[in-house]
Symmetry: C2
Subunit: 212 residues, 2 copies
Amino acid sequence: MTIKVNEETFTPRQQAMLTAALDLLVENGDGLTMTAVARRASCSKETLYKWFGDRDGLLMATVQWQAAKVRMPQVDQTGLNARALRQSIEQFARVLLTVITSEVSITLNRTAVTHTAQEKDRLGNIVLENSLLAICRRLKPILEAGRNARLLRFTSSEDAYRTFFGLVVRDVQIRLLLGDKALIQANVEANIEADVKTATDQFFALYGGKSQ
Amino acid sequence: MTIKVNEETFTPRQQAMLTAALDLLVENGDGLTMTAVARRASCSKETLYKWFGDRDGLLMATVQWQAAKVRMPQVDQTGLNARALRQSIEQFARVLLTVITSEVSITLNRTAVTHTAQEKDRLGNIVLENSLLAICRRLKPILEAGRNARLLRFTSSEDAYRTFFGLVVRDVQIRLLLGDKALIQANVEANIEADVKTATDQFFALYGGKSQ
DNA sequence: ATAGAACCGTACCGTACGGTACGCGTTCAA
DNA sequence: TTGAACGCGTACCGTACGGTACGGTTCTAT
């Protein structure tokens, strides 16, 4: 069940291939062909197959490699006060929105959804593991620290996290995945700061401790 | 730009073809082939092409036809009081969650996302139009009626609607689209009622008027 | 220097599938 | 009765693409 998230570093040559694959994915959507990757990376298809097994292996490696580049906020939990907690949470919201609205994330999520639609759930699991669950794992301790400091109030940190996710992401991700022109044109990225603040305010309104 | 949502009724024979297409989509994911649809519907490919033009046309017709079957809550806005408003909003949350977690919706959303990944945005727009925007169009007037009755407080009904969406859907939709086994196993549908109540409570906590 | 591995480029194969053509049965109207 | 339209089943075509094979070239290690 556990997905083997290889932390193995790829050689520069391999990274060139992965870069080619990722770029082609972003440019051409799901129209990624092995021939195109080989041409873009100036390598032979034979080598591609040798290193990544098959097309799915290449996609998985690409997704994992890209996911490893996303850096979650590092939060210092010592001396947690209201201001620090709020900043941490805002920072999580900011990263979440920034990632989710990025061209790369949209592309990889679309690819993973497509794969899931074909009974191949590996890619979907990898994306889940590296986006939702990655954030969840890092945010939960913060929330619980906030609760311990009487700055937050909730029973289930899982539920608190999921509400946070909803407040931050709302319908943005699904609309982007479905190619909503209106939203894209509205220049979501320019509004991230305002949305981060609103979502954080709402989160504290729902889960803030008595001192809040 | 406007998508032509044909309200034209399909003949029973055509509906049989659409049913076949929809069933195959749900069963086999995106592995929908014209040959399979023809065989399932006991018709010839030639007829299929005659009625629907090409594969995309068949998919579009299928999506539109299915979307037309989803019934939004009908709300009586006369004599709006706190209790009626709350019930209306709960009902919207219930429908939203029920639809989003249904096998058919998941399949169609996956199909639309896949299409969007291929620069073909029509399907994505149709799904957006018939899910998110359909709910939005019907919920907004309720929210505004609530505001007029001093039961709700907000400046932008658009923002209020989107927050509502986030509170209700949270990470459920994206996790289902990505095939999250844990969530599927958790039997989301059994928890819908509790989630509806929680989301509505939270919504009123954020947007409830002073009398709330 | 040289054997051998690694790897590039390209040609090739098999298959799956979208789309078309056609033969034949069935229905229905004149 | 007949003929025309409709539509089913099937065979067929072209193409795109995943995957493999192979000849030639560059790199590496002894």
